[in-house]
Subunit: 343 residues, 2 copies
DNA sequence: TTGTAAGCGTTATCAA
DNA sequence: TTGATAACGCTTACAA
């Protein structure tokens, strides 16, 4: 199309406009010291040539790619997708592009993704770690020298990281107390690995409420391990087919919930009638299930925005100290927990 | 940590190893002509210095970023997330990173994202367009000179694009016939905008089956417009509160389905009993709903993989002609369509 | 097999 | 306010 085949560069724009290369750059980055006539000539040349900047080159020279890397444990979880979408909007408004990667809930992939993003010179990293205790990932994040934002995770070794957390503990306490008030004494809890903050917080809160009500530690009723549907399904089947099955169950996430519901269907057990059921995070399934399912909810968009803001904060002021934001949860009561257990 | 503060570069690796800069590069890219001793010395130096390559620089020089850009209409749709995840795995295996962007179902954002990815010098583009007729996006894609893969879209003007399509027509025909065999004569169809291939294909197939059965064109029962839940909810309410409501309904996507179900709940209408219901694409909600919902299904992972393969195909051989892959659909019968309508 | 050197498209420093 | 020019970190002819 232009001079010599390939895409026109700043150099050709300069030649055509009869100005210096650096002047074109100044116009492009709207530098304050450019005359109106210069701006006009350059713009004329730019549109005539159909010039488009090469962001790789600019990033290399500038030492910053104007890009934020995002690592999520599982993109297929609609929750993460919402977080990413909200964050992307916030960051986009500030001129940053977002590179999203998914680790498929494998800690080694987390490490791989973090490294990849580092080498691509992203300016900041927002991560939802699969395993906050995995040394490889921590090391990887420590090597990164831009701001790091951890979502719902805590890594004490990472001096440089801001965090946005959810107050899962309070939510779990409310849920557990709610079930106890309904008369349940044998409540089961299925949640992800203890290596992820939310699970640890939930288990602790769950046990605290038991203790506070003078109830024994229901060791056999607490299952931690994974956020995948399969884990929810298997655990539910085991729990409900044991000698003393629970009368209520709390699922620690929407993916776990689908597993729980699959199991219930297989066993012919109906939530709300035969078993009180509570899930974490509101999704269409929990709302539209028959009966609708009580959930520990939170503002997931705000969660994503908060992550983005924490990153931007330290991007605009590299000396700013890392911060921690804690977001609240609320208990949304629905029919899956209205009836008193028949046992 | 190393010489002068910043991260070590290839230059410092070379100096420490006492070899030429280019030799380090050769080792890094495992060029065939490197002696074992050279390789060893360089590697020693690399680990000693903690060297890490700058992919921005490599990409600039090479004229290729080893990156594939992905544009999806809505990341929050679990279906897209699965497609992306599958594609990412395939592309990652071939050494390509994936930059995911979401346009939030806004055609202008599609354009914006495409441009952004272009400027970032991605090597290929895989896109699920919001509006395949939007001139801005088409122009944008046309300017791109690497391979373009369109997902479930067709743009005749784009000579350079491969496509992976779903045979939505056959699926819709099966679904419609199935309902007619159950005795339904007034079947409603709610689907996305006609500007998106799947909707157009569905409407056509739906009408074809009506014609083939000697039934009039149910103009009042076909609603096209958007894939968002709100559109599903509003349309369902209107349809079911009209003078001659349908006895069966087909929802053209999982997001639409949640809207449909919300509306049904509000109206006190039960799927499977009062209204036969079919949805497109299987998600936990369709499977776990009471009653389970009949769906037009497809292998969504394969869809994503196919997109990735089409991109890789032309990435490794730039002269390869664009190709088109069509994936089948199947009808999964469930309880939402077993009963004969009472009307 | 290895080294020298040019250049990828920018930005930023320095003079003018 | 503008123009030369030197990087940025890497790859790749070409020479040795």
């Amino acid at each position: 199309m232009s001079e010599a085949g390939g895409r026109p560069t700043i150099k050709e724009v300069a030649r055509r406009a009869g100005v210096a290369l650096s002047s074109v750059s100044r116009v492009l980055n709207d530098h304050p010291d450019v005359s109106e006539s210069m701006r006009a000539r350059v713009h004329e040349s730019i549109t005539a040539l159909g010039y488009e900047p090469n962001l790789l080159a600019a990033g290399l020279r500038r030492g910053s790619s104007r890009t934020v890397g995002f690592i999520v444990a599982d993109l297929r979880n609609p929750l993460y997708a919402s977080i990413v979408t909200a964050a992307q909007r916030e960051l986009g408004g500030a001129g940053y592009a977002v590179v999203i990667t998914s680790s498929n809930s494998e800690a080694e992939r987390d490490e791989e993704m973090a490294r990849g993003l580092r080498l691509r010179q992203v300016d900041a990293l927002i991560v939802s770690l699969t395993d906050e205790t995995h040394p490889g990932v921590i090391e990887e994040l420590a090597r990164f020298d831009g701001p790091v934002v951890l979502l719902d995770r805590q890594v004490p070794d990472l001096r440089n990281a801001s965090t946005v957390e959810t107050d899962h503990g309070t939510g779990m306490k409310r849920a557990t107390r709610h079930l106890m008030e309904l008369g349940h004494e044998r409540i089961a809890l299925i949640t992800g690995p203890l290596e992820a903050r939310p699970s640890a917080q939930r288990v602790k809160a769950f046990l605290d409420v038991h203790r506070e009500n003078g109830l024994e530690y229901p060791e056999d009723l607490v299952r931690t391990g994974s956020f995948e549907p399969g884990f929810g399904e298997g655990s539910t089947s085991e729990l409900l087919q044991a000698d003393r099955p629970p009368t209520a169950l709390i699922a620690g996430g929407n993916q776990l919930l689908t597993g729980v519901l699959r199991s219930l269907r297989g066993l012919g057990i109906e939530a709300g009638r035969d078993l009180a059921l509570i899930s974490c995070d509101d999704v269409p399934l929990s709302e539209l299930h028959t009966p609708p399912i009580t959930v520990i909810d939170r503002d997931i968009e705000e969660f994503g925005r908060a992550g983005a803001r924490l990153a931007l904060e330290r991007l605009s002021d590299p000396d700013a100290a890392p911060r921690k934001v804690v977001l609240p949860t609320s208990l949304v009561l629905r029919e899956s927990t209205v009836r008193v257990p028949s046992h």
